[in-house]
Symmetry: D2
């Protein structure tokens, strides 16, 4: 498999999809990102990185950060978090309050906003440097020490955060937040506002394709924990299109409204795609198309 | 009809119901109210007041304040509020986020918490003294200038207000609040924390039985507005037990979790009952029983 | 009050509304009714009848039949039915399965289809001539012995009855039907397919304005039962627009998708309006406008 | 890997779980099955079969039949079915009407009852012998020509089928059934009432682990179709516990209320477990525990 040629092919063939959908517009800073960009990077288990398109352009990782926050909580705290958040697909849009109300404040899974707020709350309680823990993990795993928060995005998110504030106060009213609502919201916004490139994000995710091992051979997660994060990504990682993503792409994946998606081929490689135009479910249109073509041509579906 | 004898009879016959149900416990100050109390007052259209039981004990009026906030907004602003809140029964528990989410942030009616937050938001925009407007109306209409906020209750409500904060942030995320979330919550808590007796509350409500006319003959509301507030009370005034209340009592009414209920016999009188024990739907058990007996014996149902 | 002049005025002033909305189209026979018709009749408690417009044209009474089925069950069986059906507004469209599922097969009220199926089931169990009981009541109370089923409508309803069949099987699966599903559906369709004029329907409803007494002075219902049917009509009689109807019209009322509405002024009169064009909630647009004007001009709101 | 020893170990270690949960009781015939049974069989891609416990006892396959009905429709009709059924997890109990109503009669996926009724409807339209098509496929693929319907179960299912009749009538009311409701229900009940052993079911499922190839090398499905059925099994195959099953077991699987579960290790083997006691979500307690141990010890998770 000549991965470089494949990625170049894909970057060409998805061209009609680039710019399709809508760029996330709930804050002006995301809405201003040029829709005509597309990047793809593959990081293999043995450390090679292949890229095509705008793979070095940093973008707002948004909900992709939820994977790394969950990894830190599982690594530091074991299975305790599962008493406070389920791991079932939600079957509803990603910021829905409905299930939360019906299910007494236990979010459906750690990848919807409510669940990520609970994970973030736990991270605040257990991490040495809770407000930079996700950033530090991404720096270490990507090897890029300059990764940081996009301050303009973070400030705008904080100003336009009523929906997450609503969720957080609801969780608090159910007794499912230990830290003050404002602290949890601050930490959550910080994680979502991290900016990274496809290449850095593919490399930083590599431990998910290596049974939890970091590039230096140290364990970020145990093999069992890694499999389980991948399982949750498959069933819950792409909002209410998880079934569709599994059907078309056939890989565990996590998307963000910044237009990025990471996907994992266990024991093989990680892929990161990015293109800002989002489909109805909030996933990058060109990104999903690229991953579809990638697994079709490589046969690297998990099914 | 000898109203005084009737009220004394009712105060006797509801004795088995006094203490039934549960005293609202979401804040300690309400939970500490002695359940064994019951009061009833009737204010006739021509200014007489009849009372029995603990009718002079001030209690936390809580959601009964929603009627007066709505009256002030209708009086000052006409029908504009109906673009921001519906007037349909909710069919769901009174603090439900579900319908709010399904219906794009337009609350079902002004008597569920979400709707009252919108009404309060509008009151903040139009009233001369928005933070005391409801209190001032109640003082004027009752003739009791000492009516005020129970500061201990207000402070405790403010500390235990995550559910309402969740609603308010959700409304804000839908663009249905004009004022800052914190201001709306403060004003809302202030209204709910007003303390009044049955006697004062029956008198203060009299304009609802007099086609909108105050005791001094001035118009609080137009006759049409008065009829319409009464209609909304009938269909939406007793949480998700409005159908049951109409069936048993047959009068427009509004209840609060402090255990109070006001009811209106148009062109005749207002009744206020109070007993802290609440049934499953949040309405005073002994209070509903007393009103049931009142309409059964007087025949003063609107049906 | 010169009622005849008033009705003639109303028939004129609602002209712009006649033909507004959509004629019910779920069966071709209803869809074929000319939208440009409007009738209104008032039957006073002392036996006078005033009419204007197309008040002698028979129309399909549809859900208005639910009031009479409930009256028969209450008359014959007392309060037993309330163990099998609630009396709360549904807050959802009239054929909704959602609440039925959430509430274990107990319909919200007797005027949504699910509730009416349960009432019909009970009528089958207790009536001497269950399949003609509603028709017989309407004949007796209207004094028009020729009232009958529109056979073409009935046959078409039976062929297009999947939604009600779905409800009935669901009720059966919850143990809330005693008779075979097919029998209940047959009886239900028969009732809905009765055809009557405004004049006959206003007269037939008169017992609801006379504390339950029929024209001949015999009791169809007790005074308490009558008040309670009126209360259920007010809170649940006009689908998910009950709050709006109470607000605008201020009378207990029951509508049908044939375009008819009956309304009750307790101790005074009944009104029947008819015009086939329906608003979004399934109530006659011109009919509601006519009732609105009627109560505005007479002041005969119950509030 | 000595699979035989592993299965014997598992049969021993799950002993504490055998009999846990509740045997399906909605029809007496299922409720009468002895809870103390457990069987497990593995069919490898190259044709070997390993078994332990009660692996030769036929049981009612129930919803496992949905996989084979879907395979036949995809094989015969390509992707057309996806216009009539989604492929997203439902997030709700398996016979829920709620989502069906909210989503205009398009079932969430082909493995909830509503979706399977649509698949069955399509099978009736395209199969040569629609009423025996699923049975014939299972006979051919298992090599056991005696596989058939448990007539007592089928008859009892047909008599206790109100919930499915409710779903089918609802689908028909939305225009999402082409064949008469009764025919669809009959065919559906027939499929669910098939009785098979673990050994036969593991072998019959082998094409799902062989990229769609049957034992004789002919193609039941294309490789892409096979991957996609496996993807739908993973996200939707175990009712509202799909996330939990993916997390614990890490394999595509489909369960039935008879207590059976099939699971697929792509390019490797299929596993069938059976034990009648069901957990809250309707999946065999001992069966899930056995599969959990199987993937833990073999490492054959897809993640």
């Amino acid at each position: 498999m000549d991965i470089q040629s494949l990625l170049d092919d894909i970057a060409g063939s998805v061209t009609p999809h680039i710019g399709q959908g809508e760029v996330a517009g709930y804050i002006p800073e995301l809405g201003a990102v040029s829709a005509g960009q597309f990047g793809i990077s593959v990081a293999t288990g043995d450390g090679e990185v292949f890229s095509s398109g705008d793979s070095d352009v940093p973008f707002s990782i948004q909900s992709i950060s939820k994977v790394f926050a969950l990894a830190l909580v599982l690594a530091g705290d074991g299975d305790r978090i599962w008493k406070r958040v389920f791991r079932e697909p939600s079957g509803n849009p990603f910021n829905s309050l409905v299930q939360l109300e019906h299910e007494d404040g236990i979010p459906r899974n750690p990848f919807i906003n409510a669940g990520a707020l609970v994970v973030t709350d736990r991270l605040l309680s257990i991490a040495d440097n809770p407000h930079t823990a996700v950033r530090d993990l991404l720096r270490t795993e990507s090897g890029n020490g300059s990764i940081g928060i996009d301050a303009v995005v973070a400030e705008s998110e904080a100003r336009n955060n009523n929906r997450n504030a609503s969720l957080a106060h609801f969780l608090a009213s159910c007794g499912n937040l230990d830290n003050p609502v404002e602290d949890v919201l601050d930490a959550y916004v910080s994680q979502c506002s991290l900016a990274m490139s496809c290449a850095d994000l593919a490399v930083a995710s590599s431990f998910l394709a290596r049974n939890g091992l970091a590039a230096d051979g140290s364990a970020v997660l145990s093999p069992a924990q890694t499999k389980r994060i991948n399982a949750v990504m498959l069933t819950c990682g792409t909002y209410d299109a998880a079934g569709e993503f599994a059907y078309r792409v056939g890989l565990p994946g996590k998307s963000g409204v910044g237009g990025g998606i990471i996907a994992v081929v266990p024991n093989n490689c990680t892929i990161c795609v990015w293109s800002p135009g989002l489909g109805r479910s909030g996933n990058s249109v060109a990104g999903v198309a690229a991953l579809d073509e990638f697994t079709t041509r490589t046969g690297w579906s998990i099914f």
